[in-house]
Structures are given as C-alpha cells and as structure tokens.
C-alpha cells in the first residue's frame, strides 16, 4: 500500500473513530502504533522510556481526537501530537529530577542549594520507603501522576478505572504517605 492510500485509509478510520466506531479506532491505533514507536525511539534515547512515552502519546491522541479536521491530512496531525507528548513527558521527568514535592508542608527540597543535598537524599530514601508501604495500586497511581506527569483522567484510561476511583486512590495514598512521614518525624 503506498503512502497516499495509507493516508486516506487512516483519515477514514479517524473520521469513523470520531463518530464512535470502536473497531475502526482499534484498527487505527494498532496500525499507527509502530509509526509512533519509531518516532519516539528516534527522539527518546533511554530505551526504558520508549513504552511509557508511546503510551503517553496514545493517550494524547485519544484526548485530542476531536481536534482532527477530516479535511486535513492525518499524519501531520498525528506527529504534532506525538512530538508535543514527547516534550511534555521529558519536561515532567525534568521537573521530577529537579525538585520533589509531594506535599508542600512536609517535603520541600531545592536542588540548587548545596546545603540541602544530605536532606534531599534523606527525603528521597524516606519517600521510597514510605511508597513501599502503600498498596501496589496506590503506588502505581501516585507514580503515574506525580512522577510520570500523567493527569488523573489519563491514569483512569490507562488503568481502566473510573476518574473518581483514581482520585480517591491517589488521595488515600497521599494521606497514608503524610501519616507515615508524621509517624517517622515524631
């Protein structure tokens, strides 16, 4: 199949997806998956992140599917979203490595201050220990929201949960972390 035919096919599948055809949508996502993965691989050098970024891009396509104009070609629209989601993911990772702040009252580290290095290391250790005490699902949700930078609705889609369930689970997780931290400090 040449590029033009493929482009037209994807355009049709996308229009059907916008009309609520789940089969067309599944077929489209499966067909564009290798394309997204290759695009991500060329831009994200850490191989362990490729799957996460690809999933993030798929969520982006899902969220922005109404923004596709059927009169326009599909591939540039797809690449624009994937490029945006790659940058978004990298920025979120950067933010996490620069400054960890789960709860402003309890955890506050500033990477630029040399005097905070010991304190920062301690907090990271405490946080990692506290995270291990949470149920696996809560750990995963907090990791996705706070570390990988997904929104609650994206996590809900990713884990096949309702939005409110994700929010409740995250809230309980934060509360448990706060309690663990308080217990540790007293």
């Amino acid at each position: 199949m040449n590029k033009n035919n493929q482009e037209q096919k994807w355009q049709k599948l996308m229009v059907s997806s916008q009309n609520g055809d789940s089969k067309a949508y599944a077929q489209l996502l499966k067909e564009i998956l290798p394309l997204i993965k290759n695009f991500v691989k060329k831009r994200v050098f850490d191989a362990s992140l490729v799957d996460d970024v690809t999933q993030n891009a798929l969520l982006g396509i899902h969220t922005a599917r109404a923004s596709y104009n059927p009169a326009q070609p599909f591939t540039p629209w797809l690449y624009a979203i994937v490029r945006y989601k790659i940058l978004d993911y990298i920025r979120a990772q950067q933010r996490y490595s620069d400054n960890i702040s789960l709860n402003d009252d309890d955890f506050e580290t500033f990477c630029s201050s040399a005097t905070n290095i010991q304190e920062e290391t301690d907090i990271k250790k405490d946080l990692a220990t506290a995270m291990k005490k949470l149920p696996a699902k809560q750990q995963l949700i907090i990791n996705l929201i706070k570390i990988q930078g997904f929104t609650a609705s994206e996590v809900a889609l990713k884990l096949n949960m309702s939005l409110s369930a994700v929010k409740v689970s995250a809230f309980r997780g934060y509360k448990t972390l706060k309690d663990i931290n308080k217990g540790g400090n007293t």
Binding site: S17, Q18, N19, G20, D21, S22, K23, Y25, A26, L29, K30, L33, D51, T54, Q55, L58, L59, G60, H62, T63, A64, R65, A66, S67, Y68, N69, P70, Q72, P76, W77, Y79, A80, I81, R83, Y84, L157, K158, L159, N160
Partner: protein, 214 residues
C-alpha cells in the same frame, strides 16, 4: 498482552463520538459575537459617556479604532488557528506580524504628539488606572470564552497560543474602553490604554502554559 495493547483495548472500549473542531471562521465569528454582546452589556453597566460622541466624529479616533479592531480580529484568528495540532505556522506568523505592526504604528503615531514632560505628568495621574481597569474588565469574560474554545482544540504550542489569545482579547478590550473614556490626550492613551495591552498580552504566555495544558 503487553501494557500498550492493554491501553489500546481500554481506549477503544466504549468509545464515545466526538464533534470535530469547527472551522476557524465559525469559531472566530462565534467569539466576536460573544465579545459584541458582552461589550454592549458592559457599556450599559459601566455607563456610556455623552462626550465620547464628539470623539467618534474625529478621523483619528475612527481610524485608530478600526485598526485596533483589525488587529484584534487577526490575533483571534491566529490564536484559533494555532490551537489545533499541525496548524500552518506561516498563517499565524503573518497574522501576528500584521497585528503587531498595527499596534506599533498606533503607538508611534501617538508618541509623536507627546513630550517627555506631558508623559511624566500623565503617568502620575492615578485616575488613569480606572481606564486600565476598564480595559481589564472588558477583557475578562471574552478571554475566558476564548480560552475555553481553544482548550477544546488541544494546542501543541501553549505559550504562543496563550499569548495570541490574551493579546486579541485585551486589544478588543482596549478598543471598547475608548468608548468609555473621554480623554484623547496621546500620553493618556499610551500609558493607560495601550501599554496594558502589551503587558497583559505577555501574561498570556504564562496563562497559556497553565490553562491550555491537556
């Protein structure tokens, strides 16, 4: 089945139909109608000054405001175009250049008629802040509407789209404020009506990053 395939399965299960983004011209017209409605309503609320009728007849007033209207419309079109993934960059760049040139020309034309003393004297008249407050008040609701319209489109250039959207709204806010203010002194116009357009427009960069994230 790996995580990506699981994700595809969960995304495609029970997919709901969505309404594709409306054409740019439709969105711009809809927004401009909302702006006209809100501005008319604000004129009744804030009070229409009789003196302004005299100003409307001057060529300078009419020309300046037509140009500001053109700049505002160009900026709103650029904001809506840039809010869609894979938008044509040259279109938004051309529209931004046209609008900025119009604004700079208006600023320069007014600055030719002022002296540094009159400028400093005007800057000390704090009554002028009321005009800036009018510009802001007349821009708030149109800005909220435009940001809501843009947010639906999933912008991939948040800062630029935010800047264009706020610049467009405040431009039209400045235009409307001219009908509420009887002062035609160029120093007053530059300090209290036009300068806030640029300052608030730049705030759009931060607002865009904050509010348009998806």
């Amino acid at each position: 089945m790996n995580n990506t395939q699981k994700l595809i399965k969960s995304l495609t299960k029970d997919i709901k139909p969505v309404t594709p983004t409306k054409p740019v011209i439709f969105n711009v017209s809809l927004w401009l109608l909302a702006v006209v409605f809100i501005t008319t309503l604000s004129f009744f609320t804030l009070g229409y000054k009789q003196q302004i009728l005299n100003n409307i007849h001057t060529t300078k007033f009419i020309t300046e405001n037509i140009l500001i209207l053109i700049a505002g419309i160009c900026l709103s079109i650029a904001a809506i175009i840039s809010s869609v993934p894979a938008y044509k960059k040259y279109q938004t760049v051309i529209l931004t250049i046209i609008s900025t040139t119009i604004w700079l020309a208006i600023l320069m034309e007014n600055s030719f008629n002022i002296t540094s003393q009159s400028f400093i004297a005007e800057a000390q008249k704090y009554i002028g802040t009321l005009c800036t407050a009018d510009v802001i008040m007349l821009s708030i609701i149109p800005a909220i509407i435009l940001f809501m319209m843009i947010k639906k489109n999933a912008s991939t250039n948040l800062a630029y789209t935010g800047f264009l959207a706020l610049f467009a709204t405040v431009s039209l806010g400045a235009l409307s404020s001219r009908f509420l203010c009887p002062i035609t002194d160029p120093s007053h116009l530059i300090i209290w009506h036009f300068a806030p357009v640029f300052i608030i427009g730049l705030l759009g960069i931060f607002l865009g990053r904050l509010l348009l994230k998806w």
